[in-house]
């Protein structure tokens, strides 16, 4: 093979990966999985969407985002509010407000009756929140562990706030019992499969976005910022802006994941978005390989599946597995399981050259 075809192959190999993933998830999975399992796979896909963003921010940008649950929640609650209002019908009020309160709806719910507004909010809310927080943090050159702690604190605060506002957000129980998704009956298996397919397509769109970002000059600059932030300053760039872009894109992806999570899981509650949930989102990325292209998504799908099957088999031991996975993977395979082929290859090389 000529060097040119080789380099072309290297550039477009990720696209082949995406294509394979698309075939497996859109064609094979619906054919072989029961509707229940397919729905579970849909949930993992939502986490995978968030994971793709984490790969961008953490893997390529070096920002350990320990509070992505917040953005997942902004999207999830935006969508859930719309679905609750759809279920309540025109001029209706979500059922829980009658249960916990006097049935008056807070004003901020009103615009979520509109589908287009909801979609706008799912993209705009995380973008605004991430911009404000990111601006405040990056511009003052707060980074590393400080950044991680602040994002984790943000997740704790967000969940506390949700639990405390039972009349506005459903509190600890969150929002559930959705009946329709933009006019489609959610009890109909055909429609459920459609929601699943939309989620997979969104995952693919997010993968295409990071593919382009990774091969762009921005991608190179992001890696440069991760490895030598202060040096980037002397290339004439403000690293704060570079990091901000990655952080905001990651937040928006988490939000999209959360938005699809609500109709698929049928519920969004503080436990889906709190500090522990945020850490769970990181787990898949660490496992798959934070800086690899498909690592975060595949890792998140694996961890999601592992959570379901392990908690079915050993109800109490799942947390041990998760904790042990963090310790083992980060300690021994900091670049993730996806890095194993490279490690094996270099080990073999060493052996043959020795």
């Amino acid at each position: 093979m000529s060097p040119k075809t080789l380099s072309l192959l290297r550039t477009f190999a990720p696209l082949l990966g995406i294509a394979a993933l698309a075939v497996v998830m859109l064609v094979v999975a619906p054919a072989v999985l029961s509707p229940f399992r397919l729905n579970s796979l849909g949930k993992y896909t939502c986490w995978a969407i968030a994971a793709v963003g984490i790969g961008l921010a953490w893997g390529r940008g070096g920002m350990l985002v320990l509070g992505q649950g917040v953005f997942f929640g902004l999207g999830g609650y935006s969508m859930a509010m719309h679905l609750k209002l759809e279920a309540a019908g025109p001029d209706g009020v979500p059922d829980f407000m009658l249960l916990y309160g006097d049935g008056t709806m807070p004003a901020f719910w009103e615009p979520f009756r509109s589908g287009p507004f909801t979609i706008f909010a799912i993209l705009a809310l995380p973008a605004i929140a991430a911009t404000v927080l990111g601006w405040a943090i990056f511009k003052r050159r707060v980074k590393g562990a400080y950044f991680a702690i602040l994002t984790q604190a943000m997740a704790v605060v967000f969940a506390t706030l949700l639990v405390a506002t039972i009349q506005e957000t459903g509190g600890f129980n969150g929002l559930n019992q959705f009946t329709q998704f933009f006019g489609y009956n959610l009890y109909d298996p055909v429609n459920k499969q459609m929601v699943y397919s939309i989620t997979v397509v969104l995952l693919i769109v997010c993968l295409l976005i990071v593919w382009q970002l990774y091969r762009s000059r921005f991608g190179e600059l992001l890696v440069a910022t991760r490895d030598a932030e202060e040096r980037v300053r002397f290339l004439g760039h403000d690293p704060a802006n570079i990091k901000l872009v990655a952080f905001v894109v990651a937040a928006m992806m988490a939000s999209v994941g959360g938005a699809m999570f609500a109709p698929i899981a049928g519920i969004i509650s503080p436990s889906d978005v709190d500090a522990t949930a945020s850490i769970f989102l990181i787990a898949g990325v660490a496992l798959g390989g934070r800086a690899l292209f498909l690592g975060p998504a595949l890792g998140a799908l694996t961890v999601g599946y592992g959570r379901t099957s392990l908690s079915e088999a050993f109800p109490n031991q799942w947390t041990y597995f998760l904790g042990a996975m963090f310790i083992v993977v980060i300690l021994l395979l900091p670049r993730g399981v996806g890095d194993l082929p490279r490690l094996v290859r270099s080990a073999l090389d060493r052996r043959t050259s020795a």
Partner: protein, 271 residues
């Protein structure tokens, strides 16, 4: 975005003027009221014993530490600007320990340095082919053959050249180089000096250096710093004849100057 107030070509000679520059580290004045005028087309060397304030001076001019006074370039006071704005105004620098992006290729290192001149939209596109200015810089620094190697695999001297190449791609009109030949072989030093002479005509180049042999071979103008102040300025011959310089910097052993004297050689010799 930055206002490019200096228009290359319009003015006959570019210059950087430093007046009464002072850097205060919690009461310790590392640089005390330094005046310097740096003219385009001259290879300007900054020498002095350790702790004289040479690097701190460069740090202040490039926004790495806070300084007071004036560092005027093209009607802007650099001391009031942020680092990345200073770079965009045309001032580039290197560091004593070569800092290149080790995981990126040589080509990518150079390409990334050209980002200053790209639109935000252009940043989102992938690189297609090799821009001519990157080709030119590669040829100038002599790394064309190594362009597809990760920068981390380069030899120490090659990294320094790569850094100079990045400044070329940035189109830095003023280059502040902090000990570029430290740790280089004699041959590499020679090549570096010639490189600086080649690119020096259209630029203002300032080199911090300890290696007197190198200074002697290539300096057009030498400024000696001591304890945060400018002690003397002139050609290498004038400097060596200056009794004050002999007193504080060279000791009384003027004849011993040719080699690396005192603490200077510690850094030059290893690597």
């Amino acid at each position: 975005m930055s206002t490019h107030t200096h228009a290359p070509g319009k003015r006959s000679l570019d210059y950087l003027e430093i007046r009464d520059l002072t850097v205060d580290f919690d009461g310790f004045k590392a640089v005390k009221g330094v005046d310097l005028t740096l003219l385009q087309g001259r290879l300007h060397f900054l020498i002095g014993p350790n702790g004289a304030g040479k690097t701190t001076l460069v740090d202040a001019v490039t926004g790495l530490v806070q300084g007071t006074g004036l560092a005027s370039y093209g009607n802007q006071n650099l001391l009031t600007m942020k680092s990345h704005r200073i770079v965009r105004a045309g001032i580039g620098r290197t560091f004593q320990t070569a800092t290149v992006f080790e995981e990126l290729l040589v080509l990518q290192n150079l390409d990334i340095a050209g980002g200053v001149h790209r639109s935000a939209w252009g940043m989102l596109l992938a690189r297609r082919g090799v821009p001519t200015y990157v080709e030119e810089a590669l040829a100038t620094i002599g790394l064309t053959a190594l362009r597809d190697k990760p920068a981390g695999t380069l030899a120490h001297g090659q990294k320094q050249w790569l850094e100079i190449g990045m400044l070329l791609v940035q189109d830095a009109k003023v280059m502040l180089l902090d000990e570029p030949v430290a740790g280089m072989s004699a041959e590499e030093r020679e090549q570096t000096g010639e490189l600086l002479q080649r690119i020096g005509h259209e630029r203002t180049i300032v080199v911090i250096e300890h290696d007197m042999e190198f200074v002697r071979s290539f300096a057009d103008l030498v400024t000696v710093m001591h304890a945060g102040t400018v002690l003397a300025e002139g050609s290498i011959a004038e400097i060596q004849a200056d009794p004050r310089v002999q007193e504080v910097y060279l000791g009384h052993q003027v004849e011993a100057v040719p080699g690396d004297t005192g603490d200077a050689d510690q850094r030059s010799d290893h690597a």
